[in-house]
Symmetry: C2
Subunit: 216 residues, 2 copies
């Protein structure tokens, strides 16, 4: 969302402003109808200009969506970094994640949802993903090994490309992966509405999983 509005020529300022407004409208559409329903034409009409004008700002629908994905990743990374900067432990990180997800479920799904078979994220996006994992690893490294000194942790000791320069011990790596996959499991099913009508309280399930992750 943070379009660079730094010192620039008037034309570049205008350009950035229009790009930002396009993305904002796009987010609105995505939030209400999902990413697959995003229409460049509809955005243009909303902004009072004709369809092809948008192609001055984005090469096409795909580039716009990629840009939104990038922003979504950055938004989560920023949320994590902010939490971490104010001394967040894994529990606080979990609640930051949950808050971020509930804030805009479709944004969450843009990052962690159903992938388009052919699509490959650009390198800078995967770099942001690494930053997110690094923040998580920091928090996990602050805990004793506990129940995560597992055989799989031993496997991770020799297969830690994703934690390349990170000093976290194997158990922390396993805990971080469990944190990620378990909370994603609860969150994605909750946001997708798979718990509706089951009767229990989804936040309590989230809390129970978090408890299990933090305690042992």
């Amino acid at each position: 969302m943070a379009e660079k509005t730094g010192t620039k020529t008037p034309r570049e300022r205008y350009r950035s402003q229009v790009r930002a407004e396009i993305k904002e409208r796009a987010w609105e559409q995505i939030a209400t109808a999902g990413a697959s329903a995003l229409s460049l034409n509809a955005i243009a009409k909303q902004m009072g200009m004709s369809g092809p004008a948008l192609y001055r700002y984005f090469a096409g629908r795909d580039e716009l969506i990629t840009e939104l994905i990038r922003d979504a990743y950055r938004s989560l990374a920023d949320t994590f970094r902010a939490a971490s900067a104010s001394g967040a432990d894994v529990a606080a990180l979990a609640h930051a994640l949950r808050g971020w997800a509930l804030d805009d479920p479709q944004r969450y799904f843009l990052v962690y949802g159903t992938p388009v078979p052919g699509y490959h994220a650009p390198d800078d996006v995967t770099a942001i993903a690494s930053e997110i994992m690094a923040t998580l690893l920091d928090a996990c490294a602050a805990l004793p090994p506990g129940d995560f000194a597992t055989p799989f942790a031993t496997h991770l000791e020799g297969h830690r490309q994703w934690a390349d320069g990170h000093p976290a011990p194997p158990a922390a790596l396993h805990r971080a992966l469990a944190f990620w996959t378990r909370l994603h499991g609860v969150l994605s099913l909750e946001l997708a509405g798979h718990f509706t009508g089951m009767g229990f309280d989804p936040p309590l399930l989230f809390a129970a999983e978090l408890e299990d992750l933090s305690a042992h």
Copy 2:
């Protein structure tokens, strides 16, 4: 996939056959390009007939996709029931789930992936979902409470609409939910390619989560 080809009039036989072929082509398209890229026109062309002909068989794109979702749910329910019938424990159920998911990742995402904001699954689909959970509950009820005799399990004791007539004790309910959410967490991230390039072996993470679910 199992279109009823029972005793019918010739016209109904033909109709069922064509419907089945449409769905088959649809599955191919979905597997290679995702559900959002499904095109009725393309299917018609593949089958050697003109676009609007398909509307004799499906009211529209949405109805076709809903039908595919229904089939996907049924397929998973059948897989679970077959596994359960041959005396599967939770571990065997987990491997059945994993096999089913890897068999056609887009089919998995059709069931557990990103939802369309407005969409509400028809009642018979939620009924199949309940059947799946019931099979899972059976397997979980066969295990001692273990670590799943939790505060959240107590909450479930009073909020078990989803396990209405099922005799499973609270700890089994909690275990079933953990089974579902944790394995879905690992599977969905794996199928979406979020583990690629991280270095570790996704099946081992799945196994580790399963181990944690079965042991305690």
